[in-house]
C-alpha cells in the first residue's frame, strides 16, 4: 500500500504520466530498486493546476515529496523559501553522457542549479494542412491571418472542425497562450521589463495598455471560432486535436502531432495517421508590422526535476536521477519516446543521437521527428531571443509567471465577464499587487 507521502521511500511526483510513461516508470523503478535497494514511490501529480494542490497538501502537512517535475516558474516560491536543493552534481554527470544543457533559461541563481532539466517547451502555432488545402488557405503571417483563416474554416460547410482552439480555462494553457501572444506582439508577456536594460538590476511594470488590450481583443475574436474556450486546457486541447475538433491552435513543440501519432498506432487508424501528417507546426505569427526580430520570446521554458531539500531522502533521489539520465543515452532516450513530440531535449547531444532518431515512432512518423527538429532549429533558433532585453529571467519574473491572473483575464474576456478594458485594468491591478509581493519576497 505505500502512503502518499510514504515515509521511508523516495517520493517523487510527476506529471510525466500517460500509459507509456506509467509502464516506463514501472520498469525503471523496479530496475533501480533491484540495483540500489532504494525504494521508489512514483506518484502521478496531474497537470498544472492539479499538481499544485497535491504539493500544497504535502508541504502544508510537513511532508514534502523528495522530488517533482514542473517548469521552474511553478516552483519559484518553493525555491525562494529555501525548500529546494541544488543539483549541480547530478546535472554535470548527466551532461557527460548527454551533452551540455543548451538553454540559458533561469535554473537557479549564479552557479547553483536547482533543476535537472528534462526538456524544453517551444511555443508555436499548429494547423491542419489538409483543411488549409481543402479551403485554399495560406499559412498565416499575422494575427489577422490566423483570425481570417479561423473564420473561413468555421464558416466552411464541408469542414467539421472549428476555426481555432482557444484556451480559456482560467488556469493552465490560457495563461501560456496569452503570454506568448503578447510576446509575439512585441511586449514582455508577464508585464515587466528592466528599468535600465543595460544594467539589468531592477524590474519595473510594463503592461502597455494598447498592446495588451489588442491581444485580448484578438483572443476574444478568436474565441468566436473556438469550441467552448472555458473547457480547453492542456489535456483537452490535445484530446480535441486528436478528435479533429479544430484546425488551428497554439501549442508546444510537436505535442499534438506526437499524441495523434501515438493514438494512430495504438488504434491502428489510418485516419489518425493522416491527421498526424497533416498537422503542421509554425512559429506563432506576429503582429503584422512587427517582424520576427521584435519577438519578445526570450527562451523556451525548461521543464525538469526539482529536489526538495527538506524531503526525506534528497541524496537518494539525486542518485535516482543520475541513474536515469547519466547512465546511457539509450536510457535517456526512452523518456522522450514515452511522450514523443512533447519535449525538445535540453541536452545538446540527444536530438542528433542515433538512439533518439531511430525511435519506433519516428520510423512510423518521420514527420514527427521533422517537426521536432523544426522547432529546435527554426522556431527556437530564429524566433527566440531576438530581443535582448526580453530576457528578464529573475526570481521576480518567475514568481510573476506562476500567478494565474493572466489566464483569468483571458477567461473573463472570452466569457464576457469583463470588457477588454475592464480585464486590462483588473489585470494591471493584480499585476501591481503581485509584483509588489514579488519584490518584498525576492527584493
Amino acid at each position: 500500500l505505500g502512503g502518499g507521502g510514504g515515509d521511508g521511500d523516495v517520493h517523487f511526483i510527476t506529471d510525466y504520466y500517460n500509459s507509456q510513461w506509467e509502464q516506463l516508470w514501472g520498469e525503471l523503478e523496479s530496475e533501480f530498486e533491484d540495483e540500489t535497494d532504494i525504494p521508489m514511490n512514483i506518484e502521478e501529480g496531474g497537470m498544472s493546476g492539479t499538481q499544485e494542490g497535491r504539493l500544497a497538501q504535502l508541504i502544508q502537512s510537513g511532508n514534502p515529496p523528495d522530488a517533482n517535475t514542473s517548469t521552474f516558474d511553478q516552483v519559484a516560491d518553493i525555491w525562494e523559501t529555501g525548500q529546494l536543493d541544488t543539483v549541480n552534481d547530478v546535472v554535470s554527470s548527466i551532461e557527460e553522457v548527454n551533452g551540455e544543457i543548451n538553454t540559458n533559461a533561469f535554473l537557479g541563481e549564479g552557479d547553483e542549479l536547482y533543476q535537472i532539466p528534462h526538456g524544453l517547451y517551444v511555443s508555436n502555432f499548429q494547423y491542419r494542412a489538409d483543411i488549409y488545402e481543402q479551403l485554399g488557405l495560406e499559412e498565416p503571417k499575422t494575427f489577422q491571418d490566423v483570425l481570417d483563416n479561423a473564420q473561413a474554416i468555421d464558416e466552411a460547410d464541408d469542414v467539421d472542425a472549428r476555426g481555432y482552439g482557444l484556451a480559456g480555462m482560467p488556469t493552465g494553457k490560457s495563461q501560456d497562450e496569452f503570454l506568448v501572444l503578447l510576446a509575439s506582439a512585441g511586449v514582455s508577456g508577464i508585464g515587466l521589463r528592466w528599468k535600465d536594460p543595460d544594467a539589468r538590476e531592477e524590474l519595473e511594470i510594463h503592461f502597455p495598455e494598447e498592446e495588451v488590450t489588442t491581444v485580448l481583443q484578438y483572443m476574444k475574436e478568436l474565441s468566436q471560432y473556438s469550441p467552448d474556450p472555458t473547457s480547453i486546457g492542456w489535456a483537452e486541447s490535445l484530446s480535441q486535436w486528436v478528435q479533429g475538433q479544430y484546425a488551428q491552435c497554439y501549442h508546444l513543440n510537436a505535442w499534438p502531432v506526437g499524441v495523434t501519432a501515438l493514438t494512430a498506432e495504438a488504434q491502428d487508424s489510418d485516419a489518425l495517421r493522416g491527421l498526424a501528417e497533416a498537422t503542421q507546426v509554425r512559429a506563432y505569427p506576429t503582429w503584422g508590422e512587427i517582424d520576427k526580430d521584435e519577438n519578445w520570446l526570450s527562451a523556451p521554458a525548461p521543464d525538469g526535476y526539482h529536489v526538495f531539500s527538506n524531503g526525506d531522502r534528497p541524496e537518494d533521489v539525486k542518485q535516482w536521477f543520475e541513474w536515469l539520465y547519466a547512465d546511457s543515452m539509450e536510457r535517456t532516450v526512452r523518456f522522450y519516446e514515452a511522450d514523443p513530440g512533447r519535449f525538445l531535449p535540453t541536452y545538446s547531444d540527444v536530438i542528433e543521437s542515433d538512439a533518439f532518431q531511430s525511435q519506433g515512432i519516428f520510423e512510423a512518423h518521420p514527420h514527427l521527428l521533422e517537426k521536432l527538429q523544426y522547432c529546435q532549429d527554426e522556431i527556437w533558433g530564429n524566433h527566440y531571443g531576438s530581443v535582448d532585453e526580453a530576457n528578464i529571467s529573475s526570481p521576480e519574473s518567475l514568481y510573476m509567471q506562476r500567478q494565474w491572473f493572466y489566464g483569468e483575464m483571458v477567461n473573463s474576456v472570452v466569457t464576457d465577464s469583463m470588457t477588454v478594458q475592464e480585464a486590462y485594468e483588473w489585470g494591471l491591478g493584480q499585476l501591481e499587487q503581485a509584483f509588489q509581493e514579488a519584490q518584498e519576497t525576492f527584493g
Binding site: 493546476g49 500544497a56 508541504i59 514534502p64 480559456g168 482560467p170 473547457s231 465577464s417
Partner: protein, 317 residues
C-alpha cells in the same frame, strides 16, 4: 469490540467490579455504544474544524510550511475580497434555486411514483439511480450533452428553442451556466427529496383519505389537508439538509464549470478552493470556510427557530 461491554449480565463466577464503579453499569454500556461514533466524529469533524479555525488566524502561503500569525486579519480581508460577497450571493442563489426546484420536483415525483400502478418498481429504481450514480458521471453526461459538437441539449436549445446559437457552449456562457448548474444539480438531488417523501407517503393510511372523501373533499383538498401536513415534518428536515448540502456543494460545480465562466458560478466553496490553489492563500481560504460555517450555523438556528422541524416531526408521528 465495544459491543462486548454492552452485555448486561455478568458471566457467572467471574468478578467484574461493575457494582463498585462510581457510575451506573448502563451508563458505561451506553457510552461504549457511541464511542466508535465519537472517535470517528472527532477525527472527521472536530479536529479538522478546529484546525481550520486555527489556520484561519494565520497567513499561510500554500506552498510554504511556515505559518505567520495574523489574528483576525484574514477575516477582515475576507470581507474585503471583491469576489466574496458576489460568491456568497451566488451561493445563496444556487442553494435556494436548487433546493426549491428539488423540493417541488422531488415532491411531485414522489406523488406520482406513489400513485402509478404499472411499472412503478422499475420507474422508482430508475429515479433513485439518479441519486446513486457518482456525481462525476452526471458531470460527464452533462458536459457531453451541452457540448456544441454532438451535444444533444446544446442542439435542442439552439435549433428548437433558440436559446443560444449553435456554436455557444451553454455551460461556458454567463447567462446559462448558473441556471444549468441548478438544473443539473436538481436532476441528481431532487431524488433525495423523493426518497424521503415517498417513504412518508407510503406511511399515510388510506383511511385518512377515505375519511376525507366521506366529508366530500376533492383531491386538492385532500392533498392540502392530509398529504401536505403529514409530509410537513419531513419536508422541513429535507429542506434543511438539502440547503446545507447545496450550499456546501463543490464537486459538481468544479467539474462542470470550475466556477466560470468568469466568476459566474463561483460560490463560496469554489472561492475557498480557488483561494487555496490559485491564490495560494491557505489561511485566507480557511477564514472563508469558517465564515461559511458560521453563516450556515446562523441560518440553521434561525430555521429551527421559525419552523422547528424536530417538533413538527414529533407531533405528526
Amino acid at each position: 469490540m465495544a459491543s462486548e461491554t454492552g452485555e448486561s449480565i455478568r458471566p457467572r463466577g467471574a468478578y467484574i467490579p461493575w457494582d463498585h464503579l462510581p457510575v451506573e453499569r448502563e451508563t458505561v454500556a451506553g457510552v461504549a455504544t457511541v464511542l466508535p461514533v465519537v472517535v470517528l466524529y472527532v477525527l472527521i469533524a472536530v479536529f479538522p474544524i478546529a484546525f481550520a479555525f486555527w489556520a484561519s488566524l494565520h497567513n499561510i502561503h500554500t506552498l510554504n510550511p511556515e505559518w505567520k500569525w495574523v489574528g483576525l486579519e484574514n477575516y477582515r480581508e475576507v470581507m474585503n475580497i471583491a469576489t466574496f460577497w458576489g460568491s456568497l450571493w451566488r451561493g445563496i442563489v444556487y442553494m435556494v434555486g436548487s433546493t426549491l426546484i428539488q423540493l417541488v420536483v422531488g415532491l411531485w415525483m414522489a406523488l406520482v411514483l406513489n400513485r402509478i400502478t404499472r411499472g412503478q418498481k422499475l420507474l422508482t429504481a430508475v429515479v433513485f439511480t439518479a441519486y446513486l450514480i457518482p456525481t462525476i458521471i452526471v458531470s460527464l453526461v452533462a458536459l457531453r450533452v451541452f457540448d456544441p459538437p454532438g451535444g444533444v441539449f446544446q442542439m435542442m436549445g439552439a435549433e428548437w428553442f433558440n436559446l443560444w446559437s449553435s456554436q455557444t457552449a451553454p455551460l461556458g456562457s454567463r447567462g446559462w451556466a448558473m441556471r444549468l448548474l441548478i438544473l443539473i444539480g436538481s436532476w441528481k438531488f431532487a431524488v433525495f427529496v423523493t426518497i424521503f417523501t415517498l417513504a412518508q407517503l407510503r406511511a399515510i393510511p388510506d383511511r385518512f383519505y377515505e375519511a376525507a372523501k366521506i366529508c366530500g373533499a376533492n383531491r386538492w383538498q385532500m392533498f392540502r389537508d392530509i398529504t401536505l401536513p403529514r409530509l410537513m415534518g419531513i419536508v422541513l428536515v429535507v429542506v434543511l439538509l438539502r440547503s446545507i448540502f447545496m450550499f456546501n456543494k463543490f464537486d459538481i460545480i468544479w467539474q462542470l464549470t470550475q466556477g466560470g465562466p468568469g466568476n459566474a458560478t463561483t460560490t463560496l466553496p469554489v472561492l475557498a478552493y480557488k483561494t487555496v490553489y490559485t491564490d495560494q492563500a491557505y489561511g485566507l481560504a480557511n477564514a472563508i470556510a469558517v465564515v461559511m460555517f458560521l453563516f450556515l450555523l446562523a441560518s440553521a438556528v434561525v430555521y429551527f427557530k421559525i419552523f422547528n422541524p424536530s417538533e413538527e416531526v414529533e407531533t405528526t408521528t
